[in-house]
Each structure stands twice: as structure tokens, then as C-alpha cells.
């Protein structure tokens, strides 16, 4: 579960007044392998066999085992929380699931997360972070937006 972290050092909280709409905030890549799927199943309680059993996945018409949509959403949420410097600062977070992430065995699928400033609300002391979440160049989460309180 190696992670590549190109974001700023933890502990430093971003300043609302320094954020400009459209500016890129962070970029992260997460490796998703079968080990991570099993960990997520146990942590979340979602034991649908399409997330660990190739035979079952094929029987229901999938090309193979796929990641839980909520795992992909969770990875992107972690990128936001790390950038925010405070996981409790993420007050809203929503996504639309567009394509499943197929997870090979052996091997890994990569989930790439990029965050940019959607809009700054100085009155609320919050920023909307717009996320681009792709795997193999294909968008897997659409309308992915988080509201982070920084004020």
C-alpha cells in the first residue's frame, strides 16, 4: 500500500485568503491491490464477493474483481483530509460513481486524485475543493466535491 505524496507537509493548514479559484491544490496516487480490497471489506463491513472473488465477479458479468466505489471515494477523501491538515474539517463530501476500478491479480490499479479550488466562501470560512479522480486515464468519480472549513 505504497503512497506517493506530493502534497505539502502535514500540520500546515492552508490559508483561505491564499486560495484562488481554479488553482491546483494537490495530486496523489494510490495503489489499489487485492490486499487493500480485503482490508476495506473488513473495515467497512461491505463483503460483496464482487470485491474479492473472480469467479463470482465473472458470473455477474463483470470483467473481474472491482474496487468498492466507497473505497475509491475514501481514497480521494483521504487526499482532501491530508491537504486540509485536519480530517474533521471536511464538512461535506459527495461523488457520483461513473466507472468501476478493476483490480488485477497479481498487480495493482492506480487511482489518481487531483484537487483544485472550486470556490472560496469567506463568509462561511470554507473552500469547495473540486476533485478529478481517474484510473488508467478514465474518470471513475464524477461531480466529486468536498467542502473544507478553514476559517
Amino acid at each position: 500500500m505504497n503512497e506517493q505524496n506530493e502534497t505539502l507537509a502535514r500540520g500546515a493548514r492552508p490559508l483561505l485568503t491564499e486560495l484562488e479559484a481554479g488553482a491546483e491544490l494537490f495530486r496523489r496516487t494510490y495503489a489499489v491491490d487485492r490486499d487493500r480490497l480485503v482490508r476495506y471489506a473488513g473495515a467497512s463491513g461491505d463483503f460483496n464477493p464482487i470485491h474479492y472473488n473472480d469467479r463470482f465477479a465473472h458470473e455477474v458479468g463483470l470483467p473481474g474483481v472491482i474496487a468498492h466505489g466507497m473505497l475509491t471515494m475514501g481514497l480521494a477523501g483521504s487526499a482532501v483530509a491530508d491537504w486540509a491538515g485536519d480530517p474533521g474539517a471536511v464538512v461535506e463530501y459527495g461523488v457520483r460513481f461513473t466507472r468501476p476500478v478493476e483490480v488485477p491479480d497479481p498487480g495493482t490499479a492506480e487511482v489518481e486524485v487531483a484537487g483544485k479550488v472550486g470556490a472560496v466562501d469567506l463568509g462561511e470560512g470554507s473552500v469547495r475543493v473540486d476533485l478529478t479522480v481517474t484510473s488508467g486515464g478514465v474518470t471513475v468519480l464524477a461531480k466529486a466535491q468536498a467542502v473544507v472549513r478553514l476559517g
Binding site: M1, R39, P87
Partner: protein, 157 residues
């Protein structure tokens, strides 16, 4: 038997507006928060180190932004898995998910979840079912609202 068009999904639309009684109390633990953080690549120390959480002003370790799904999905079963819903779970895919946190979830929280069926729409052989899980603490103060849209496909035969 020889029909080639997609059949209706059988989801019961009369259940819109229905609420399901609050679940049993869910005790949020440090262990579960740490498991969820590890699985979702969350590396902030406030998920696992109480000192780091205290430094940010929390009473204990803080849950990742999507942790509430653990409670929401357990509670949704009261509706989704009930025969009356008409939902064939083998034909379900997750279409949308949204969290609104009224306050962060921390270890030690004792939470209950009430599920509401908000919307059921037909769209081209697919039924979109919107549920809303309202999570509250022991004092009945709101903690999180989790909105989920499931897409149910009709049987192809």
C-alpha cells in the same frame, strides 16, 4: 420467457417517505477508525494518535471523511434487504454518495441511525433509489447526514 425487453425492476415506489426506526447504538472505536484510515490511505495522525487529535481540539481520534458509511450501510439494510422494498441486491450498483458532517465523528461516540426513503425514480429500465441516513448522538444531536443513490437494473430476459 421469450421476452427480449428489459423488465421492470420491481422496486416498490409506494415506500417513498417511509422511515425506519433508529438502529441499535453503534459504539465508535479507535480500532475501527484506525482500520478505516489504513484501508483508505488516510495518513493523518489524528486518525490513530489521541495526542494528535487532542492537539486539534478533539476529545479522541477523528474518523476519516467517509467513515459514516459504515453506519449508514448497516442501517440501510433495514430497507434495502427487506422483501417489501422489491430491491434485488444482485442487480444494484452504487450511483451516488454524499456526506454532510454536522460535527466530526470521534472515538467514544455512541450513535444511532435512522433511514429515510427519499426518492424512487425510473430512468430507462433503471430504478434510482435515494436513501438518507440521519446519524445522531446519545443526546439526539445531529452528527451526519448520508445520502445514497442506488441504481437497480431490471432483469434482462
Amino acid at each position: 420467457m421469450t421476452e427480449s425487453s428489459t423488465r421492470p425492476t420491481g422496486v416498490d415506489k409506494t415506500l417513498v417517505g417511509r422511515s425506519y426506526a433508529p438502529t441499535e447504538t453503534y459504539d465508535v472505536s479507535r480500532v475501527k477508525i484506525a482500520e478505516m484510515a489504513a484501508a483508505t490511505g488516510a495518513t493523518h495522525p489524528a486518525h490513530t494518535d489521541p495526542d494528535a487529535a487532542w492537539a486539534l481540539g478533539y476529545s479522541d481520534v477523528v474518523a476519516p471523511p467517509t467513515f459514516a458509511v459504515v453506519l449508514a450501510q448497516r442501517a440501510e439494510q433495514a430497507y434495502v434487504a427487506a422483501p417489501e422494498s422489491g430491491i434485488d441486491f444482485s442487480r444494484v450498483v452504487h450511483a451516488e454518495e454524499r456526506f454532510v458532517h454536522h460535527r466530526p465523528i470521534v472515538a467514544g461516540d455512541r450513535l444511532r441511525t435512522t433511514v429515510h426513503v427519499d426518492k424512487i425514480l425510473e430512468r430507462g429500465g433503471i430504478t434510482l433509489v435515494t436513501t438518507r441516513a440521519e446519524i445522531a448522538d446519545e443526546a439526539d444531536a445531529p452528527v451526519a447526514t448520508v445520502t445514497s443513490v442506488l441504481a437497480v437494473r431490471g432483469a434482462e430476459k
